[in-house]
Structure formats: C-alpha cells, structure tokens
Subunit: 346 residues, 3 copies
Amino acid sequence: MDFVGNHILSVGQFDRSDVERIFQVADDMRPYAMRNRITRVLEGAIVSNMFFEPSTRTRVSFGSAFNLLGGEVRETTEVKASSLAKGESLYDTARVLSGYSDVIVMRHPEPHSVAEFAQASRVPVINGGDGPNEHPSQALLDLYTMRQEIAEQGRGVDGLSVALIGDLKYGRAVHSLCKLLGLFDDIRLHLISPPGLELPDDIVKAVQANGHEVHAFHELEPGIHGVDILYVTRTQEERFPSQAEADRYRGLFRLNQSIYTQHCEPNTVIMHPLPRDSREQAQELDDDLNTNPNLAIFRQTDNGVLVRMALFALVLDVVGEVDNHAQPVTWYTAKRHLSAKDRGVR
Amino acid sequence: MDFVGNHILSVGQFDRSDVERIFQVADDMRPYAMRNRITRVLEGAIVSNMFFEPSTRTRVSFGSAFNLLGGEVRETTEVKASSLAKGESLYDTARVLSGYSDVIVMRHPEPHSVAEFAQASRVPVINGGDGPNEHPSQALLDLYTMRQEIAEQGRGVDGLSVALIGDLKYGRAVHSLCKLLGLFDDIRLHLISPPGLELPDDIVKAVQANGHEVHAFHELEPGIHGVDILYVTRTQEERFPSQAEADRYRGLFRLNQSIYTQHCEPNTVIMHPLPRDSREQAQELDDDLNTNPNLAIFRQTDNGVLVRMALFALVLDVVGEVDNHAQPVTWYTAKRHLSAKDRGVR
Amino acid sequence: MDFVGNHILSVGQFDRSDVERIFQVADDMRPYAMRNRITRVLEGAIVSNMFFEPSTRTRVSFGSAFNLLGGEVRETTEVKASSLAKGESLYDTARVLSGYSDVIVMRHPEPHSVAEFAQASRVPVINGGDGPNEHPSQALLDLYTMRQEIAEQGRGVDGLSVALIGDLKYGRAVHSLCKLLGLFDDIRLHLISPPGLELPDDIVKAVQANGHEVHAFHELEPGIHGVDILYVTRTQEERFPSQAEADRYRGLFRLNQSIYTQHCEPNTVIMHPLPRDSREQAQELDDDLNTNPNLAIFRQTDNGVLVRMALFALVLDVVGEVDNHAQPVTWYTAKRHLSAKDRGVR
C-alpha cells in the first residue's frame, strides 16, 4: 500500500511487503527511542489523540511516539467530555477535528466507528482500537516483537510456531495477529482456549487457507509444548454479555515458572498484549515469571513506541527526513530499552 | 482597544476597528493553519487551557492554535479534578495558575466567572465560554466566516442580511453575534424562533438602536427568504430549567435540502455554531445538506483556529514577529482547509 | 545524595547540603520562570505526569516546570481511565510507562505506592504525593519560600521560629516540612491544633531529638506570638474516617487581619500549602488578608515551579547546561512573579 496520507484502519490493508516496510522503519527509529539522539522532524506538527474509551498504554505510547519525532499532542480522553454526547455525528466530529491537526489517532468502543470517522476526516486517521474489532498497531508491535525475539535465534518469522492462549473469542489483539501471521510462510498455531472462548471459525479458516497449520487445545500444558512463542491473553471481561459470564473463565489458564520449566523449551518467548490481570482470581501470567529472561512483555510495549513512530513517519512521509533533523541528547538517559543481552536481569 | 497584555472577556470590549484588526491578523495566520509553512514565534510560551465544563471543539481549537504558533499547552478539563472542589475561590485559583503560564483560556459554567477569574490573574485571560453569558471567540469566528463567505460575492459585512434560527433565548453564540453584527452598517436580522425562545428584548433593542432592521418570525419558511446567511442553532438543552421543558422545543425547526432549494437563494450561506444535534428527534440541520457547497459549518470551525491564533498573537504582542519565525513544512500535509472553489465537493 | 538518575520519593532522602543544593539550582531557574529568557535544554525530553488522584496545582506546576525547561508533557489524570482498573499491578504499569518517557511524576492515593512504582521503573520517578504519606516537592517549596522571605530580613533558616496551625495530624505537607526544618539549626516550632489533630508523636520526638524547641497549643492566639512564620493548613477532610468527623474541626482556627494585627509581628510571614478553603464554614485564612504584603501564599506556588524545575534539572543532569540553551523571549510577558518590593500591592 501507499502509506503517505492514508488511513491505518485494519491489518487487512497490509500485504507482507507493507509489514516488512513498517518493521524496517521501526528499526530505524530505535536510536531515537533509546535516546542515542533526538529528532525534530515533526516540529510544528500536531497529532490529535482522540480516546473515546479508557486507555493509558496505547494513548501515552502514541503520544510519546509523536513527541519523539518532535511533534505536539492534543488529547481528548472522554466521550462524556465530548460533543458526541450532545448528539454530534461521527461525520461532524471528523470534519471538525481534522481541521485542528495533521493526523488523528482514534480509539472508540464501537466496531467500525474509526473507519466511519476516517471517511469524513481530511487528515490521516490511525485506528487506536475500535471496540472488539481492530487494533492494528497492537498486532504490528506483537509481530515486530516476535520477529525481534526470534532473530536472536538466527531465524525469521517464516516457520514460526505460536501458541495463542486464553480468551481467543473476544481478544481483538489475537484476531489481528492471526491475520498478520498469515501473511508469512509455514506458521504453526496452537489455539489454547477454554471451551466457549475458541478463536472464531472464519479466522481459523483464513489461516488454514493460507497453508498454515492450526491445532486446537482445551488444556494449557499439551498446547505449550514445542512452540517458539507463547502469546497469553487476559479475559476481555468488558466484551462479555455479563460479568457472571466473564467470571466463569477467569483464572482457568495460569502460566507460571514451574509450568514453563516443565513444558516449554529453554528459550520459548512469553508474550502478552497487556494489561495482564494480576488480581488473585486471574493471574494468567504469574509474577514469578518476572525474572525469566524470555518474558518479552515489556519489550513488547517498548517496541510499541517504535512501531507507532514508524506509522507516523510513513503516513506523514518523513521517513527519509528523520535523520536530517537529528540532534544530540544533552540530558541523563536511563537504559530504558532492555537489550537482548541484559533482558530480565535488571 | 489595546490588545497587548489584556483580557478577552466579552464582545462588548470591541469596536468595529478592533474586530477588523482581529480579522486582518486572522487572515495573516492562514498560511500557517494551512501548513504552507510553520512558525515558532511562541516557542517556549505556555497557555493554560482551563476547561471547567466539557468541550472538545473549543478546547482543542485553542490548543491547536497555540501549538500552531509554536507554544506549549497545559490543560485542565474537569472541575471535579480541581481545587475548586476543595473550596478554593476563583481568586486563589487565578493567582496560582497565572504563575504557571503566559496566557490562560478559561471555560466555566457560571456566568461572569471568567471575568472574576481574570481580575485576579497576573496573565491575560481569554474567555472560552462562561455558561450562558459570553463566548467571544465563537462570535468572532462566526462573523469572520460571514465576512469570508460574502467576500466571494464581492461584498462586505455592511448591508448583510442574516436569519438567526432556533433557540435564540439561551444561545450565547447568537447573543454575542448580534452585538458584533451591530458594530457594522445596515444589517438586517430575521429572528426565527419558536414562541418562548425569542431573542431577549434588550439585545433586540440594542441592535435596533444602532439603526439596523429586525424582523421576528415563528415559522421557518417565511423567515429564510431573501437573506444572505442562515445561522441555525441547536436547542441549548443544558440551559433549560428541565429536560421536559427542553424536549418541547426539539426538532421544531429543521432545515434540509428540499426546504433550502424551495425557499433560499442559490448562494445563501448555511452556518451553525456546532455541535449540530444529529439525533433523530433534533436534526436542526439535515445531513442531506452535507454536499451543499454553501454549507459553511466546517469552514467556521477551520476559521476558529485562525481567529484564536489571532487573539493569542495580539494579546501576546507577536503579530509582527510571526513571519520572522517561519520555517518550511517538511511533512505530508492534507488539504485541510477547503478553499472557496472546492467547498463541498470533496 | 547523588541526584542524577535517581528517584525523589521522600524528604528523608535529603541531608542539609542536598536541600541547599536544590535551593541554589531553584535560584538559578528564576530568570526562566520570570520570562527574562527561555531555555530549550530539555528539548525532545518527555515527562510522564501520572496523576491517579485529582490535582490541578501540583500537576500543572510540574508540567509547566518541564515545559519551561523545553521538554514535552504526556499526562494521565484518572485512575479509572487507566490499566490499574483492569487489575494491572504497579510493577507492570511502571515497567511499561518507563518505556514511554525520560522521567515520571506520580501522584497516587495509596501511601508508599509511588515508591513501589519507582522500584520497577526504568527512569527516575518524582513523588507528586502518595496519599497521606509524602509530598516532597511541597515541603521543599515551603521551606524555599521561608528561606526567601526571611532573607529579606537579612536572616537564614537557622534560628527560624514557625507556627504550624490547623490539622497537624493528617497534613502530609506539615509532616514533611517538619523533617526538612529539622535539618537546620535552632528551629522553634509552635504546634497549634485542636485537641485530636495534634502532630504525631514520632515527628515531634524526631524534631526534639535534633535539638529543636517545640511548644504545643490548643488555641490560636497564644501560639502565633513572636514567630517568624505562620504556616496555616486546611482540614484534610478527605483523610478523615468520616465527613462528620471532619466537620467537627472545620472553621475552628481562623486567621484574619484583625487577629494578625493584634498578635503578630509587623513582618510575620503568612503561608499555606493551598488550596485554602474559602467556604463560609472553613476560612482558615480570611480573604481580608489578601492585601497583607506578608501573605506569601502565591509566592509559594510561584516558587513551586522553581523547585520543580530544579528537581528535573538535577535528576536529568542538565544544571550546567540550562544557560547554554538560553534564548530571548519575543512575546509580551506579564510581571507574573511578585517581587519582594511590590508584593500584595498589585
């Protein structure tokens, strides 16, 4: 696809070369995110960060990514504080807001609302999550992390085996990730979910149609054998018809260090789209894994900044200009981004 | 008036030359808002955007205007999250906050609260709306838009005929607009409201005292004949004593393409202070007008950025400096501001 | 202590030379806060302002301080809008957020939560208040103000006499201030509180153990005689077990101009951590003191910006670089910071 001036609404927009292009640009962003130097390439540019649904991680990540490129962030965080509450249509909101900024990031609880908004917008819109539907930057950062983790074993995404664990029915991160993985070759998926929370059939079929291997499990232990990546998810309680319904599934699958040692390879990577639910009833990913060097969950969120910087740079057509606006860093910078070598051993 | 270092609290501060000065500066801001170039004239300056009442449009518009001039925005969006909730006086809040920024924009639900706040502030305060009382930047952008739209017909504001439609009793935008229009010559106003929501008598009399023509209507169709501008408003539900009271008036006047074609001139301009209420019960301005090239409602909000940039530039005394801090734009910029030629035909 | 790259969590971290170092750097920040010039030393740096409890003053003050140094602010203002509400641990939140910024300011209602957060953070964390526990930047700005006010009388902090007035039990500002004052020599404290809201015993004993003089009072008038500083506080209603309990103490001590004239020295300084409660039932500091030139409460909040700039500059190791990135101010600047000479006479 041509990124310049276009919306990023769905992983369905991308072919393999698009994904690889995004990842290559994300790689180029690393020195800026790691504070080896700064860039002012977007000095004077404005992003409108519209979050009509609570979010800390995604919102701050997008905002920081834009700041790291030198731009300014204008933010709206509550649907109640917005004109939508006074009966304004998405069309109107989009027409108006697109006069205030150079690019818009939008999260909204209604599926397809962001696409509807984008149609009326006069500037590029990036989907920051539209309810249970899509969250393309999450899927991209997940795959980018898999690519980075497996590269340390001298391999690429082709031939990767991934166990997807937990609520595979409502987890939009999982759905989008499956579509992205499907663009590569010889993927093997282990789908591990409780009965009733299986991955929707159309997604399974699409993956299989692309020639990939899919195995379904209702138990944790048999499913996590012999895979490269464990991708654990929390129960998406807010998507369930009722809290009682959601409670039935909480805490069913819990990965901890002892299960990991017993059933996984020594370098099986552990991922999670976060937030992980650390309350006693849930704990899908036990805290005792925090010192496991293969726990990649915070490398995922770090990578999220890179991927979002890449999306902004591509959409706003400054990829080739980033280095031309570089400046030295003059302040103390912590080693924020754990390298492959020191991961987990802080 | 002398703008430098002064508060902008009410349209009553302005004479005709003040308004023309603001509009002239707003014109000068256009290349920056349209992204032909950027300016860093306010680099290092801080605006405090204090919104003690929900607002997306006005808040983001002021913030973006300040960013477009190169400055930084600090924002407060909830009265509950503020010290006012702990019994702090407006005097104290103003004394404190004016130590944190170079200029303050304030919206507050209580009439005259912003003026009270401004009295204690040590930096210039711009009224972003004080309940049913004043919203001067809205009135300015409305008149600025009328001036721009009518200029395409080779005319000026003098001699303009405007139909004001809807809730003329509680609509502060309408009240302030009437005062501004009154500064010009030979204005003709058609006041179209349901019985009970008429324009307050003192405003009518003030307009007439300045030698302008005023005609009142209780029906839509007869009132919209032969005017240059239709200025449609929504029912200001939040100002009514009760929801039931407000509901009586919803949806009484609805302008759509068929009524427009039947009763208006081919180039009658359609305006609205927004948000327009697009819920089925309201629809004071039908969506089928969205392709009408005379629908100026999004040019209004675009112009709001220009007018707010102008107010900041005037109050902070940088009008002559803006161009001296200009820089080229290095990123992709959408055609955000519809020109006269291509309006409505995107 | 070594400030560079370290957390600022508690006044207990500081010895006397640390406090004096912070104050010296704060002095150096004055020309920038007063807008004699600007500095871009932190251009490209990002602070994450995490406020999991309502705050306007502290939040905006930290944000403006960072902007004044040239940096960018990313903000989160609601615990409900955050991942903590989905069961995320402070550990996870800290690991994630510290990948998004160069330094974090955090306020949280739970005592010691900020320290727990800091332990997992990969960037320096500054405590913006952790419930009833600590609020180190407030204590620093209070002491900095005392130092500045008493300097006009040709004296230093050593030998200072301070009356602490009001809710000394729950007021964290008072507790931290006592610890800081204790680092100096020959302090005399008058503790004036209603029975039941006395300063906790361990704090009294710590002050006495350092060789300082402590006198307790249950009445206002006898306690405010012969001291240099009156430090008045509001009742910390939100910390009481019940509102009824808090109401018993409201409005017990009220300082006004007539009591001041009768019982204080002509140059006794009046301070308050703010917000002061100006509701009729409270009024611990009457509005009729607003014209009293010794009322230092707004000089306190102005100084808060200086102290917070100093903390950022020290932690991020740019103290020596600030002046190297100075630029002239090109816009209108109000005389925001009242000088010693014109205080109170605006």
